[in-house]
Structures are given as structure tokens and as C-alpha cells.
């Protein structure tokens, strides 16, 4: 991607601001829209956002308060930009408050700006004390200002490894987590790359990582806050109560929405826009382990379920786990910040010789007369499936005038979604508008003869264009 193309990909949290020490692995990779910047410069402002179902026939907008980056000048988005820095670095941040009440920026354990008066600009310095994942947010009039959209993710990378060990995302990993990261790329059960290891020949960045910053948005309540008497804080207890407990109304038959959340987002995106977005959905090969940093800026809990690989919960709320569970689902409470470490092993229930979860020799298929040209072959990589198009090529949406909606089953597509499924329900079903992302398998580093890459691996591509609906 050309550097000048970065701007259009770089809205809000999908952009990475690198401040302090340089991170060449991040800057060189197409998987991130990354900007090196000497200082952070945010304006606290507001925006009207067109949500996942907004189109000329369906008004679906929500008012937010946002942190907007001025230098570099990033497009407005909620949440704010993802900040990358390095343990021990000094970060300079300038904050301008363009809203009508005092606002702040707070990073638990690291920084607190205190109130910044309306129209005031202040500059601060803080030291990124400890490697890990952080939610930065406005902690005034809690939880109103945070939930209105004033939040984002900050990642502090460790400066160095512990002698004789590989990098983990942590300053002081537990023995179990250190062993896990030491084993990636080295042990018999985790063949491939270490987490810290990239491979330019296969366009694989080092330190592969993603941010899933979850949130819930109430268009009715957020508008009430926006329209509240200028200079006065909306009552916080009333906000929290209405957000969670406003009485049920039969929206389906009346069209009237209550003050509960009606949109559920991951890093500002829902449904298709979070699932098929290469900045949010990991696209990696077997043998390329990744970190996913999962945060909740809102007031409702989610039950995050991932397909295709169980994942290690290596850190929960700043505590590197002594007993990291290997799970397919994890509870995400409000304000939770935890890390999933995805081993990116071959999906283990694909038939193999021993059937004990390892990347054994695959079994050999039998001829399936239902598949043209089917001949016996190893079931991994699954070449028949990767070459399948569903629906079949030529299937049109909307009858004869529609467009072809056929999709090739490559790369291997799996979802990650909130299993407390009511967050899939914003104005539609089947996940297209809900709290979902995914995990794609784009190949295998450990196939005979070298690295295999499946067809259609995304370069960095849309859906990044904006504009009214299809714009």
C-alpha cells in the first residue's frame, strides 16, 4: 500500500499511532495503518455516526463524543486511535476540549489528566510504566463520558526480552505464559513462527496483534446527553440506570426505541464491517500465533466465543495469568481488559492419523462422487473445500438484476462473536449487524515443501471507503 493511501484506511481505532520508540514491524506491515508521531494531539469533540444499518430508507445514526487525532489528522471515529508505545517511553499528549463540560483522559495506573475546562488546551507528559493492554478513557462523570464514546486502546510493548527467553506482551510474564511464548515456533506442538518473529517473504509481520474494543451504543440516550443543558453533567446514575434498565418496548411492532443500547460494536464496527475487515479479523497461517487484546468500554457484559482454535487467556485486567485457561469462550465484563493468545494451530478436529490434537499426517480422503473430479487426497490442506464456491458461481442477489453473491471458501473463514446473542440483534439477524469479528486461516507454514498460502488472501482492502451507504 502506498503511504498516501493510509489516510483513507485510518479512521479512529483502526489506525495505530506509534509514539516514542520506533516499531518497524508495525510500520512496515500492511496489516496496520500505522503512523509514527512524536507526540499525541487529541481534540475532545463530538460526531454523528451512521451505524451499520444506516441507509436512505433506514435512519440509524448515533451521537458520540470522541477523541480525534489532529496530528496526524485522522478521520473521526469512535473509539479513538489505538496508541502504541514502548515500556519506559515518555509520551507527550496535548488535549483540547471542544465540548461544553469538563473532560479528561485517564489511563489506569499510568496517567490522569484531571478535568480540562471547555475550550481549554493542556499538554501533559507521562511514562508508559508497564507493558500491557490499557483502556484509555474520560473518567469524569463516570460512566457517562466514557460510554458516550470517549475511549480507546493503548498498547505498551515490552522493551526487551528476559535473558534466554522470547518476547511476551508482558513486563513480568508468569512462568506458564513465558513457557507458552517460548514454545511458539520451537516446540513440536507449536511448529512455525514465534510471536516475535515475522517473515517478509510471506508478508507476515512480527508481534502479530489485534484489538477488539467492544461497546454498546444507545442512540436515544446518547442524544439525550448531547442535548442536555450545556455546561451541566447529565446525571450519571440516571444514565447507567436507563442504559441497562429502561423498560422493554415492542420495537418490532412500534418502531419506538427505548434507551437501552441498540448497536453493538467492535472497534466501532458491527457485523460485516467487523468480520470482513482485515484490520480487525486476523488473517494468518497455521504456525503464526497472534495476540488479540479484548476490551469493553461499555456497561454490558459479553461472552466472547471464537471458532477454529481454543485460545489462551494470558492476561486478565493487568494480571498475567498463573493458570492460563485454554478456552473457546470468555466473559468480558464492563471495563475488562484481557488478552487472548491464539496459537493458530491447524483446526485440530480435521481428520489426522492419531486424532490427539496435533498437526499429524492428515488422513486420506475417499472419492466423493458428489464432487466433480474428486480423487483420494490428504484432507489437509482441504483442497476440495478451498476450491468450493457457495453459493454456486452465478447465484444472483435479488433475482435477475442482482449481483453475483458467490464466495469461494478460501481463505478459511471462521467467526468470533458474542454468544450472549442479543448483541447480534441490532435491526436484523444472522450476525450481519452485531458484535462479531472473525479469524481466518490463510495457509499453513508447516506443509510439506514449505509455506502454503490459500487463494484470495486479502491484501489490505475494504470495506474502508465511506459515504452514504455504498458510497
Amino acid at each position: 500500500m502506498e503511504r498516501r493511501d493510509f489516510l483513507k484506511y485510518s479512521a479512529g481505532s483502526l489506525a495505530a499511532l506509534v509514539v516514542g520508540s520506533e516499531m518497524p514491524w508495525l510500520m512496515e506491515s500492511n496489516a496496520y495503518a500505522a503512523f509514527q508521531t512524536p507526540t499525541l494531539n487529541f481534540t475532545i469533540t463530538d460526531a454523528m455516526k451512521e451505524m451499520v444499518t444506516h441507509n436512505p430508507f433506514n435512519d440509524a445514526r448515533c451521537y458520540f463524543w470522541i477523541y480525534k487525532s489532529n496530528t496526524p489528522n485522522l478521520l473521526p471515529e469512535c473509539p479513538g486511535p489505538t496508541i502504541f508505545t514502548t515500556e519506559g517511553d515518555i509520551v507527550t499528549i496535548t488535549l483540547t476540549n471542544n465540548l461544553d463540560e469538563p473532560h479528561s483522559l485517564y489511563i489506569p495506573g499510568i496517567f490522569s489528566s484531571g478535568p480540562i475546562a471547555p475550550l481549554a488546551t493542556k499538554t501533559f507528559r507521562f511514562r508508559a510504566l508497564r507493558a500491557g493492554t490499557y483502556l484509555y478513557y474520560d473518567n469524569l462523570n463516570a460512566p457517562v463520558n466514557r460510554v458516550m464514546g470517549l475511549h480507546g486502546c493503548m498498547i505498551v510493548m515490552p522493551r526487551a526480552t528476559h535473558p534466554g527467553h522470547k518476547f511476551t506482551p508482558y513486563a513480568a510474564p508468569s512462568p506458564a505464559v513465558q513457557k507458552l511464548f517460548d514454545d511458539f515456533g520451537t516446540s513440536a506442538h507449536f511448529p512455525g513462527l514465534s510471536w516475535e518473529q515475522g517473515d517478509p517473504a510471506t508478508d507476515t509481520p512480527a508481534f502479530r496483534q489485534y484489538v477488539w474494543l467492544c461497546h454498546q451504543a444507545s442512540p436515544i440516550l446518547f442524544a439525550e446527553v448531547g442535548n442536555f443543558t450545556a455546561g451541566l453533567d447529565y446525571p450519571a446514575a440516571q444514565f447507567a440506570n436507563l442504559f441497562n434498565n429502561d423498560p422493554y418496548v415492542d420495537t418490532f411492532n412500534t418502531g419506538i426505541m427505548n434507551r437501552k443500547p441498540h448497536f453493538f460494536t467492535i472497534s466501532g464496527q458491527s457485523g460485516h464491517f467487523a468480520h470482513n475487515n482485515p484490520f480487525l479479523c486476523p488473517n494468518n497461517r497455521v504456525g503464526e500465533p497472534v495476540i488479540i487484546r479484548v476490551l469493553n468500554a461499555g456497561l454490558q457484559a459479553h461472552s466472547m466465543h471464537i471458532h477454529a482454535n481454543h485460545v489462551f487467556t494470558t492476561s486478565i485486567n493487568g494480571v498475567v495469568q498463573e493458570n492460563p485457561l485454554w478456552v473457546d469462550t470468555m466473559t468480558l465484563y464492563p471495563l475488562d481488559v484481557w488478552d487472548w493468545t491464539v496459537p493458530y494451530i491447524r483446526p485440530p478436529d480435521i481428520p489426522n492419523i492419531r486424532g490427539i490434537g496435533k498437526a499429524d499426517t492428515p488422513l486420506t480422503s475417499i472419492t466423493n462422487p458428489g464432487i466433480p473430479g474428486s480423487v483420494p487426497h490428504p484432507v489437509w490442506p482441504p483442497t476440495e473445500e478451498l476450491n468450493t464456491f457457495l453459493p454456486p458461481v452465478g447465484t444472483l442477489s435479488g433475482g435477475l438484476t442482482g449481483i453475483d453473491i458467490s464466495c469461494q471458501l478460501s481463505p478459511m473463514c471462521y467467526p468470533m462473536h458474542d454468544h450472549s446473542e442479543h448483541s447480534q440483534g441490532a435491526q436484523g439477524g444472522n450476525y450481519n449487524c452485531g458484535l462479531i469479528s472473525g479469524i481466518n486461516f490463510t495457509g499453513d507454514r508447516n506443509t510439506a515443501g514449505g509455506v502454503t498460502t490459500f487463494p484470495n488472501v486479502p491484501t489490505v482492502h475494504g470495506p474502508d471507503g465511506t459515504g452514504p451507504a455504498a458510497g
Binding site: 415492542d250 457485523g271 469462550t329 464432487i371 482441504p382 473463514c413
Partner: protein, 449 residues
């Protein structure tokens, strides 16, 4: 600054170039493809069921079957009638018309599992094998592969433990309305002994499950394994000189009593307002997908449960109450892959090893408190401490009275064993995921005589 004149507009993202994926995610056309990378099935369970359960058949060798969806109206404790979406098993006559929860599927590690699924009634549907990890077509997520139609799902269970299966079409409705059942992966030889007169009979107890109990000697019969390689030493399938072979019992422990606790909730307002299986389903644009899509203002994001269950057994009481379920419920063999005697409430003897499998199938969260000490041996179908992949964690003791929280779709397995009598309850609090408010407390009897 105001809502009427915000400083910025954040435009909706575009689907240009991705119209196909956008439309497919809404409403994939029903498909009935052939199974790719087909491998001959080897699952021993359906033949055993046909041989031991009166009236059961095994129509397709080594293959189980499921039909969906049926609509089953179930009487609640207060006389209200609520619609459920249900599976049937065409090989088990008594499930005709649908049962809830769906029959428990047992499979043995390392076998090739096939499930032939036919979708009837309001289509389409899928089956997702939650926690099991095959290729996308066999993962049963419509927008990543296809909604069916009919299809033979194929996978090879590689990890012994507790799972479940559910329809992954518009899951927020189809799963809430009951389209799920439990899945148990057992050791490779769990169905090997078919003589009921002999120990380790496939249709009864004791059975074995995976665990690393190196720190918990109170559970007799535990078989350790290779501390580096797990259930197989470096000698591979058949062993090498000086290296142990694959041991089907490595890292497993026998249990005498098995209880299945699937906690669920229903919202009767959802059930009444949105019982159409396509309710609130948007239609992609006829002219320009991504531009002129028709959306409904659905109710499915405001969930307020008012009925509570364990494994289909009601907790008969209103929101806010504390109520026990029936004290003597055993899952029939025909709904449990031919195994006789799986319990819901626990009725055991002193010094028996009791395995309790817990799944939160509710959309709100649960808080489980046991009246006696338990040892947590697995989460989400992965036995703690079993190398190589789970060498980074370990089984742990949970003292009596310690609450354990689970959110939707999470599972844990615990072992319990008491040398003294117990006549008590486990308490299950249902707590809302949006404010952690206590909605209801169910009590599950635990009697150890």
C-alpha cells in the same frame, strides 16, 4: 456542540466490492453440498444405540442423523405455553416431533464422526459443533460456508471433554428457542465393551474422562501419561522400542456418577412476539445491496428472561425467587447415545467419583456454588494440565461455597467425591449480563447417601 450540529459526521462504511459477502451474511441461499475431503465414518455409537435401545435404528452405517427444525410447545410451570424450536433424531422414533434439549451426542476421540442433517420446516439451518474445530463447511456457520438443506457434517474429535451443538443460523433466535444439544467426547475405547455383564460396559458406568490429577490423589483409578507428549509418547501410534504407545486411558480418570447441568433461560415475550423463525430478518437490497437493504427494528437485543431450566428440567418459580428443581431426573438412554443413568440432580453414594458437566446455555450469565469441595478438571472441552497444549495450566480445587461464574456457551467439568453423606443443593444464580442483577436462583439437589 450539539446533536443537531456535531463537529463531525462519521459516514457509514461501504460494501462496494464486497456485495457478495454482505448479501450472503444476511441470507445465504439454502445449499446441500457434498462433503469435501470425505473420509469413511468410524463412529461406533449409532450401531450400539440401534442394538441396545428398543425401537432405535441405524440407517446410515457409522453415522448419526439429526432433523431440524420442529416446533414444540412446552407447558411452563405456571401454565403458560412457550414455543421451542427443536431437533429430532430420525433413528429414534420417540423424538419425532422434536425434543428439547436435543439428544446428547457421544463420540469417541479419534473416530471419524458423521452427522447427516436434513432441514425441514422453516429453513434454513446449520449445526455448529461448539468447541470442536473442523473446516468451515463442517463448522456450520452459514455466512462462512452454507446454510442447509441437507448435509453430512464430518469431524474427528481430538480432545476428550464437554461440548454442545446448536443451530448457527440467526443464532440469537434459533439457539434461544432451543435448537441445541450436548456433546460428549469420550476415550477411544468408551464403546468397545458391548457386553453388559462385563466391566466398562459401553452403556453404563463407570466411564472415563480426561484429566490431569497429579495433585489430586483422592480420585482413584487415574492413569497418568507422558508428561511431554500427552496421551501418546514420542513413539507415535504404535510405540517405538523404549517408547510407550498411544494409551487410550492416558490422562483419564474413571467416574461412577455423571450429571449434566445445562442452564438455560427463556424470554416469553420474545417467544410470543418473534416465533417466526425468520422474524426480524432483513432483506438485502433488490436493486443495490448495501444501499437499499430493508431492515426491521427487531426486539432481539432487549432480552428479559422469565423462565429458567437445567437440562430441560424447569425451576418452577417466578423471576426473583429461589426454587429447587425436581430431585430425581435421569436422562433416558435413547436421548443419551445409549448410556443408561446420566443424572441431572445428583443422587450418589459416599466415596463415589461424581462428574458434573456444566454448560451455560442461558443468554444471561450464571453463578454456580457447590455445597461440597469440587476439583475443576476442564474448561471448554480441554482438560486442564494435559500436555502438550494444556501443560501451561492445571486442575484446581474450588472449596465448598465458592461461587463460580460462567457466561453464555462456557463449560466446565468438575469432580466431586465425599466420604460423608450430603443432603443439600448446588445454587445457580442467573444474573443479567447487562447489569449483573440477580434474576433468579435455581437449586439443584445433591444427595450423597
Amino acid at each position: 456542540m450539539s446533536v443537531a450540529s456535531p463537529a463531525h459526521i462519521i459516514p457509514r462504511r461501504s460494501v462496494v466490492g464486497e456485495e457478495g459477502e454482505w448479501c450472503k451474511m444476511f441470507d445465504p441461499p439454502t445449499a446441500s453440498p457434498a462433503t469435501c475431503e470425505l473420509v469413511a465414518p468410524t463412529n461406533p455409537v449409532p450401531a450400539f444405540v440401534a442394538a441396545t435401545v428398543p425401537g432405535a435404528t441405524n440407517t446410515i452405517p457409522f453415522t448419526i442423523r439429526r432433523g431440524l427444525m420442529k416446533t414444540t410447545r412446552i407447558d411452563m410451570w405456571d401454565g403458560n405455553r412457550v414455543d421451542f424450536f427443536t431437533f429430532d433424531d430420525p433413528d429414534i422414533a420417540s423424538t419425532n416431533g422434536g425434543v428439547w434439549p436435543a439428544p446428547t451426542i457421544r463420540m469417541v476421540r479419534g473416530s471419524i464422526f458423521h452427522c447427516q442433517v436434513a432441514a425441514g420446516g422453516p429453513p434454513p439451518h446449520t449445526i455448529h459443533w461448539h468447541g470442536q474445530e473442523p473446516t468451515p463447511m463442517n463448522d456450520g456457520v452459514g455466512h462462512c460456508s452454507m446454510e442447509i438443506g441437507s448435509y453430512t457434517y464430518q469431524l474427528q474429535p481430538n480432545f476428550i471433554g464437554s461440548y454442545f451443538y446448536h443451530c448457527h443460523r440467526n443464532t440469537m433466535q434459533h439457539f434461544e428457542f432451543g435448537l441445541y444439544g450436548f456433546t460428549i467426547v469420550e476415550p477411544p475405547d468408551a464403546y468397545a465393551q458391548q457386553n453388559p455383564a462385563l466391566p466398562n460396559y459401553a452403556g453404563g458406568y463407570p466411564r472415563r474422562t480426561a484429566a490431569n490429577l497429579i495433585n489430586f490423589p483422592q480420585f482413584p483409578g487415574y492413569v497418568p501419561g507422558d508428561p511431554v507428549h500427552g496421551v501418546a509418547g514420542p513413539g507415535g501410534l504404535n510405540g517405538l522400542p523404549g517408547q510407550p504407545a498411544l494409551d487410550p486411558h492416558a490422562y483419564t480418570v474413571p467416574y461412577d456418577v455423571e450429571a449434566l447441568w445445562v442452564l438455560d433461560d427463556r424470554d416469553s415475550v420474545w417467544a410470543a412476539n418473534m416465533k417466526n423463525a425468520r422474524a426480524t430478518f432483513p432483506a438485502h437490497g433488490l436493486v443495490q445491496p448495501g444501499v437499499d437493504d430493508q431492515f426491521f427494528k427487531g426486539d432481539f437485543h432487549d432480552f428479559n428472561p422469565d423462565y429458567f431450566f437445567v437440562t430441560g428440567v424447569p425451576f418452577p418459580g417466578p423471576v426473583g425467587s429461589t426454587v429447587p428443581c425436581a430431585s430425581n431426573v435421569v436422562v433416558p438412554a435413547e436421548l443419551n447415545s445409549g448410556v443408561v443413568g446420566m443424572q441431572v440432580p445428583v443422587n450418589a453414594l459416599r466415596n463415589q467419583t461424581i462428574l458434573i458437566r456444566v454448560l451455560c446455555a442461558a443468554y444471561v450469565f450464571i453463578r454456580v456454588t457447590f455445597p461440597v469441595d469440587v476439583v475443576v478438571i476442564a474448561y471448554d472441552g480441554r482438560a486442564l494440565g494435559v500436555p502438550p497444549f494444556n501443560q501451561y495450566n492445571h486442575a484446581f480445587l474450588v472449596p465448598a461455597g465458592t461461587p463460580m461464574d460462567l457466561s453464555t456457551a462456557r463449560r466446565f467439568d468438575v469432580l466431586m467425591r465425599s466420604s460423608s453423606t450430603v443432603s443439600s443443593f448446588a445454587s445457580v444464580q442467573f444474573r443479567h449480563n447487562r447489569n449483573n442483577a440477580l434474576l433468579f436462583t435455581g437449586q439443584i439437589p445433591i444427595n450423597i447417601a
